[in-house]
Symmetry: C2
Subunit: 78 residues, 2 copies
């Protein structure tokens, strides 16, 4: 558990967060402050090292002004 597939998924989520953050020209520290999370934690999430909890992901999504779903990289649906 935390097999290859899981890691890949978390890495993709992390990558989308980073992409969006850079799009907004924010730093990790800046995002951390808006999301009310710690800077080092944001960094490890972006690297796909953390199995982030739903409420934290939502805080990040809000700080990036996108729906949580946009960070998941799933096919749009139903």
């Amino acid at each position: 558990m935390t097999n290859r597939d899981d890691r890949l998924f978390l890495e993709q989520v992390g990558f989308r967060i980073r992409e969006r953050r850079l799009e907004l020209k924010m730093t990790q520290a800046g995002l951390a402050e808006v999301a009310d999370l710690h800077r080092t934690f944001i960094g490890s999430v972006e690297r796909g090292e953390r199995n982030v909890a739903l409420l934290s992901l939502r805080r990040i999504a809000r700080a990036l002004r996108v729906p949580v779903a946009n960070l998941l990289g799933e096919p749009p649906n139903t």
Copy 2:
């Protein structure tokens, strides 16, 4: 932290999980087995008592054969 808004969000996610589970005529124990999570944990998630982690939410979504985004109850976007 775990303010009213957060609780409401988790409750909505929980409700969507329960809705979908009943649609598939599964029991909590049945869902738990397919998702490889514990029965009591599924129950508490459905009640919105748990800030479920992303990988666990994904396991649940897969067991319910829906994208994770479908459980979030967000407006479709971008």
